[in-house]
Symmetry: C2
Subunit: 469 residues, 2 copies
């Protein structure tokens, strides 16, 4: 299908007014049950149309025996029927003028015999002729948090907060892992899309769509293997630096490579070739699911550092040392403060503290205005490009975080502020969430990961500046 | 002091019957308040003696104006007075026959001028003459979870579960970070000890004590810089492989090294020299706080793998690929199953699944007896040395974990089982805690970290076997 039609139809697929579930069910051992639960509990405001010839209603919604029985238009059809029934469903979708399909059913290209591949080819021909983009087959589905659309078989994805990260993934398992991490870390998500076996929507289709999607600020990609890596690189290059793209690819191991073939129908291929090609295309390359989320969060919520000089302001010395090590190993520099900044810090901390960068603000635990004064001085320091703000809770510094909140909320990261403010559950959570929501900082689970996140921000910025030079 | 006396007195220091708090307070801006809160809320069954000449009672406990006023013996004195008052307190402790001191006060060797160092020397002479081991100065204190003793200024440490990990740390910040991680991950801890500026108790004193401590199974060390690294290596070598020792050291960066000097009074020194010396002494060397906890947890709760062949059993393919990559990169091998195991798996999974190692058990989500059958076959496979068990929650596999619980609980890790069973908060938590408590497995937050934990178990075992060859 033509590029404009595809983009237009993907827009409708992700923002439908009417959604049909073909194979909707009330039996908990059917995926059609879980999909209905996701759709009804996610806060979606559009019309839901369960399709099941054997039911009069599903989850209190009137059911239809076929798509054609529903009197209105259908934007998105979610299909959860056995593989062999799917070609008929696709023909029905085509006749009905459906704009997009999420095909959850498995049993196509990934199966051992040629029948699966043949069936997938038939479906691709049908979908392409009808100009219907298809997410899947063999996918958990997708979610669009910004309209409360949970078109997946996992109702718990509706626990996610909406935000700027779009995750496009070749693995349902990694999507779930990262979704649950995002829930725990309160990372805001725009969309999670499980590509599955990619009938006609693959990374090269998703990337241009998400580059235009107003809800998405950063693209996070999880890859295993691609049929045509060059097509992705070419597409990514066309839109590079429009929005940041971060990628994590598995399949570097001998077994992982073989597993990829049977999992998604593609060989994983040589890892270093992918890495090189992605980096050349302006993609930030990372090596784990945690780092993928950390990087995407930093890129979606922090401004770009304008240089590599970091100020480390810490409530304790040890975490500052751990962060220093990672900063230097990852190509950042520990800033030398402007003399005026240094004078201010010296006036606010006793001589027994670490007062040069990194700064140990420990002796000022009880003196929130001193901590605020240090942070304020460092913010305005022309020698500082970014701030790492580290504070481990101890009963005695309970009020330290609220003491500098207003300053940070007012300053709104004129330079990036990556924080690691860590307490037992329930103590600082609300205040940290308020700071994140207000654009004051991002909070990362360890000092090492905070430093690494900042280094990745800088790595991306360097790639971007390199392009422009 | 002589080695036997030191060990005996350290035993009393960590297992006191009577604890005095010199500087106990009811004012929340005093550390003496937080220490009293820790002691009274941690479940300690012994006698607490607040000492404060200006108070008649502290937190409803009768206060004494001096140590000598208390009629009974004092095993442990916790000191939270200003530095200049501490020499007098030490003399009093000596007269009273106190067996151990936790000196929380700061202002000694770490301060810029020579007065601090001099004062510290005076205290060391007093303590050594009286044969009193001293934790600190400039420390948050210590906790001994097995007797509910929270001798720190952080009452929240009492939220920790008791278990086999002893953390000895040169940084209070890293101790707090790791303590809070341990709370979130339900990692069992025996003791957390903040060494501070090490008057006469340093790593070389703590290691032999913990090697004899019946509650400690693994020693986790966080180091910055040592005055005499050779002394530690020599001590560690003497007891090597009695219990596993894992170490994380910061200060590799230029700034980190300088920071170490002002933080703990010692230069961090050349990182690679430490790394080499520690490894030669039989210590497992890791590069971050998360990995330190992951490794300590694995070593405290899993048996040693007898070889490097791993079975990866996963609810989804992507996490299995991520784990495969890490396994191979870290020196493990993906096992080739025994033909009988392979036959069993083939009989339990449809052809469309990944049935060779790694195994994608996805198609058996609804069939808990099939999953159980696969796990059982792999457990008994002589080609398999360890199991990685990965399952990301999806609504449809909710019962998968309970389906294999009893089998794993009965088997009790005859080979190590490192799991990554991940769900949104509140779904699998209880069942996973039951499995961990029953010795069935350990649960790790990501597939990559699970694979890395297993690789570290094997790395330690190889060191141990190398010694014995």
């Amino acid at each position: 299908m033509s590029h404009p039609t595809l983009l237009q139809n993907l827009r409708t697929l992700f923002n439908p007014k009417t959604v049909a579930v073909i194979g909707a069910s009330e039996k908990p051992d059917k995926l059609g049950f879980h999909v209905m639960k996701s759709l009804t509990s996610g806060g979606f405001k559009g019309i839901l149309v369960p399709v099941n010839p054997a039911a009069r209603s599903v989850m209190a919604l009137p059911a239809f025996s076929s798509l054609e029985d529903f009197p209105g238009a259908i934007d998105l059809a979610i299909v959860v029927l056995p593989a062999k029934l799917v070609p008929g469903v696709f023909q029905e979708c085509s006749r009905k003028g459906v704009k997009g399909i999420v095909l959850i059913s498995a049993g196509f290209r990934e199966i051992d015999d040629s029948e699966g591949a043949l069936l997938q080819k038939t479906l691709a021909d049908l979908a392409n002729e009808a100009e219907i983009p298809v997410i899947g087959p063999n996918t958990f589905g997708m979610v669009n948090l910004h309209i409360g659309l949970n078109a997946s078989f996992t109702p718990e994805f509706s626990l996610l907060s909406k935000g700027g990260i779009a995750l496009v993934s070749q693995s349902g398992g990694i999507s779930h892992l990262m979704g649950f991490m995002a829930i725990r870390q309160n990372a805001g998500v725009s969309k999670i899309v499980g590509l599955g076996n990619r009938l006609n929507v693959d990374f090269p289709e998703m990337v241009p769509y998400l580059m235009q999607d107003p809800d998405t600020r950063v693209l996070a990609l999880y890859l295993e293997g691609l049929d045509d890596p060059r097509r992705l690189m070419s597409v990514v290059k066309q839109t590079r630096f429009v929005k940041p793209v971060v990628a994590y690819k598995t399949g570097s191991s001998r077994t992982g490579n073989q597993a990829s073939l049977s999992h998604t129908g593609s060989l994983a291929g040589r890892q270093e070739i992918y890495e090189g090609a992605l980096k050349q295309s302006g993609v930030l390359y990372v090596d784990g699911a945690e780092t993928l989320l950390d990087a995407a969060r930093a890129l979606s919520l922090c401004p770009a550092p304008q240089g590599k000089s970091v100020a480390i302001l810490s409530g304790q010395a040890g975490p500052a040392m751990a962060a220093s090590d990672v900063c230097e190993a990852e190509g950042m520099e520990i800033a030398g403060f402007h003399p005026e900044t240094q004078r201010t810090i010296n006036s606010l901390l006793p001589p027994l503290a670490m007062r040069t960068n990194p700064v140990d603000m420990g002796p000022a635990w009880y003196n929130t205005s001193a901590i605020e004064g240090i942070i304020a001085a460092v913010m305005e320091d022309p020698h500082v490009d970014a701030i790492l703000l580290l504070m481990m809770f101890a009963s005695a510094n309970r009020t330290a975080v609220t003491g500098f909140s207003e300053l940070l909320l007012k300053w709104k990261q004129r330079k990036p502020v990556v924080a690691c403010l860590i307490a037992p559950p329930g103590i600082w959570d609300q205040e940290v969430a308020r700071l994140e929501a207000g654009g004051a900082l991002i909070n990362v689970p360890t000092p090492e990961r905070a430093a690494k996140s900042l280094a990745l921000l800088w790595e991306y910025e360097k790639m971007k500046q390199g392009r422009m030079e």
